[in-house]
């Protein structure tokens, strides 16, 4: 059975060698994903763990496997047309994507901090390269250098934190650390420092406010499908690690107050700054970058109140909303010239009704209006926050989402109300893109109206979390 696990990773690596050929490497990578997802289905309810908890195949990791498969498949579909337009080379693009997927699978499925660290490095290295892949453009190399320096800086913190966590107990297994954490009476200051540093490193990866400086530039510089990947998959992986760590660590009695209030402050800061700065952005990618920061803030609330069910639901909804929005943006590309400024989007609603409509649906869902899943996701989190009597936090959160409504609608206003600028011609016939748009639309609306079946799976995932 462990063969199957290795097989799914081998598929990913196998893609690399045959994806050197120019044209159809994308399809091969898709086939690879489908095969590995078939294998994960086989695993659903049987909880296996290998390498002494290094690799755990419980429902939790399998659920995230599926989330990654979906988001990566959508990104690959998205990037067929995009690559042709931007003349990026095929071969390595898809192989790096698949390696990045393999890295994320490693991160999510392990209970050992060392392996989480290594998996994190696998997919962040892949991200550094992917960000800089648009060879000609100065911006994308700048995005990649900025992402690289800050990413390396963050992993240095992470490693230093792990050093301290290792110090209090001999092994790097999360549950072993958790026990020594609880029992450790004399060396708890050490554990707190290690835990603090570890969190700092993780917050860098998730781009929560005090550590979010790199996000807008990297999102703007990187090619659009990659930005979609950043905003969705990296965040999901980061939060998966946090869920795993917090679910075992949370009952610590020593730093309870300190950690609680610091997280609380970070959540508030993220939401406020994320939304406010987004107000005055001209470039649509930067707007989405700041909106993803704001969404990270909402997710932080879910972490504070330890309600992981709504957090995972929020992540799923977030994946569909964000990839849909980025899909439309990546559709707006003409011969290696992307349309990114707001003015260029004016009047699109009439010239390309199909694109305009889908973009507005996604933006509405991001803002959190009733019919769409965005509203439901936020509703879950806020209601559970109120239940845990965090009134002030929810008030701030609601205020921030009101602010966010403004800058989302502003884009829609631009699309429909303003007169269109001549000379904006984009290739319309782009079948894979429409498939992506359709899937995302389906996801957003379906989850919005009857999320029952998805919740069922999430409950299974949560229940399996505590076994190991």
């Amino acid at each position: 059975i462990s063969l199957i696990v290795l097989f799914s990773l081998i598929i990913l690596i196998w893609e690399i060698f045959n994806s050197r050929k120019r044209n159809y490497s994308g399809y091969i990578s898709l086939i690879g994903i489908i095969i590995s997802s078939i294998f994960t289905i086989v695993f659903w309810n049987k909880n296996y763990s290998y390498f002494k908890n290094g690799l755990i195949l419980d429902n939790f990791s399998l659920l995230f496997f599926f989330l990654f498969y979906v988001s990566f498949a959508l990104v690959i579909l998205l990037s067929f047309k995009y690559i042709a337009l931007q003349k990026m080379n095929y071969g390595e693009y898809f192989s790096l994507l698949l390696l990045c997927l393999a890295g994320m699978m490693i991160v999510v499925s392990s209970n050992d901090i060392l392996i989480i660290l290594l998996g994190l490095e696998v997919f962040s290295l892949a991200n550094y390269v992917l960000a800089g892949l648009k060879l000609g453009d100065l911006k994308s190399s700048e995005a990649s250098i900025k992402y690289f320096l800050l990413g390396a800086f963050a992993s240095a913190f992470l490693i230093y934190g792990i050093a301290f966590l290792y110090g209090i107990c001999d092994s790097t297994k999360i549950n072993v650390i958790a026990d020594s954490f609880l029992s450790g009476e004399k060396i708890n200051t050490f554990a707190l420092i290690g835990f603090g540093l570890f969190l700092i490193g993780m917050f860098f990866k998730i781009a929560v406010v005090p550590f979010h400086v790199w996000t807008p530039d990297v999102y703007q510089g990187a090619p659009t499908p990659i930005t979609a990947l950043f905003s969705v998959a990296t965040k999901a992986a980061g939060f998966a690690v946090l869920i795993r760590v917090f679910s075992t660590f949370w009952p610590i009695k020593l730093g309870e107050k300190v950690i609680f209030w610091s997280l609380w402050a970070i959540a508030v800061l993220t939401m406020v700054i994320g939304n406010l700065v987004a107000l005055r952005q001209r470039n649509i990618k930067r707007i989405l970058a700041y909106s993803s920061i704001a969404h990270a803030g909402y997710m932080m609330i879910a972490i504070i109140i330890k309600d992981y069910k709504s957090l995972i639901f929020y992540i799923i909804v977030y994946i569909f909303m964000n990839i849909g929005a980025f899909a439309v943006i990546s559709a707006m590309t003409k011969e290696n010239k992307e349309y990114l400024d707001l003015e260029e989007y004016s009047g699109i609603g009439f010239k390309y009704p199909w694109l305009g409509a889908t973009l507005s649906v996604f933006l509405i869902s991001l803002a959190g209006f009733p019919p769409t899943a965005g509203f439901l996701a936020k509703f879950y989190i806020f209601s559970s926050a109120v239940r845990n009597n965090l009134i002030t936090l929810t008030i701030i959160a609601v205020l921030c989402s009101l602010i966010s409504v403004f800058y989302y609608l502003r884009v829609i206003v631009y699309m429909y109300m303003k007169p269109s600028i001549p000379g904006i011609k984009i290739e319309v016939e782009n079948p894979p893109l429409f498939l992506v748009l359709f899937i995302c639309l389906l996801g957003v609306l379906q989850l919005g109206i009857f999320p029952a079946n998805v919740i069922y799976y999430i409950n299974q995932a949560i229940s399996s979390l505590t076994i190991f």
Partner: protein
């Protein structure tokens, strides 16, 4: 005797890093780095980790910084960079650094006595390191192979010349 050795090595390590901060010319920075990494290797040897010490010196002090020197040679900036940035940034950075340092060092100082030296010797020899590596830590070992693959692909992709520039 150990104290003496420890002090020398730690002074060399910290001195190397401070030298790197102060000097302008990149080549000097790289050489300062060699000094501090080599002395760190010595410290590892002091800590009963001979295998790691040799690896550190060979790989870190040797290969990685030589890589840096290659890149510096390729870029070969003539003069050192003039330091015309805003004046207060370095001082603010130092100030924040000291605060951060204090946060980390304080617990160590406070329960220094706790760290009485455990007796017993651990064998950091290649033998049992290798055996542990392949028995208990097999999975991370595989992941490192993934990391190296990505580094290779990335380096090739980014720098492949598309015909004459």
């Amino acid at each position: 005797m150990y104290y003496f050795l420890f002090l020398i090595l730690s002074i060399m390590a910290v001195g190397g890093v401070i030298g790197m901060i102060l000097s302008r010319n990149q080549a000097y920075n790289a050489l300062f780095l060699v000094l501090s990494f080599a002395s760190l290797g010595g410290l590892y040897a002091l800590l009963d980790a001979p295998f790691i010490a040799t690896i550190q010196i060979i790989i870190y002090a040797g290969a990685i910084i030589v890589l840096f020197l290659f890149v510096i040679m390729i870029i070969n900036l003539k003069k050192g960079l003039p330091q015309e940035r805003k004046k207060w940034i370095p001082y603010l950075a130092i100030f924040l650094g000291v605060i951060f340092l204090f946060q980390i060092i304080y617990p160590v100082i406070s329960n220094l006595i706790f760290f009485k030296q455990q007796k017993g010797i651990i064998e950091g020899s290649p033998l049992n390191l290798g055996s542990a590596l392949f028995s208990e830590y097999l999975y991370p070992f595989e992941i490192t192979s993934l990391i190296i693959i990505i580094a290779l692909i990335g380096a090739v992709v980014l720098l492949k010349r598309k015909g004459a520039k």
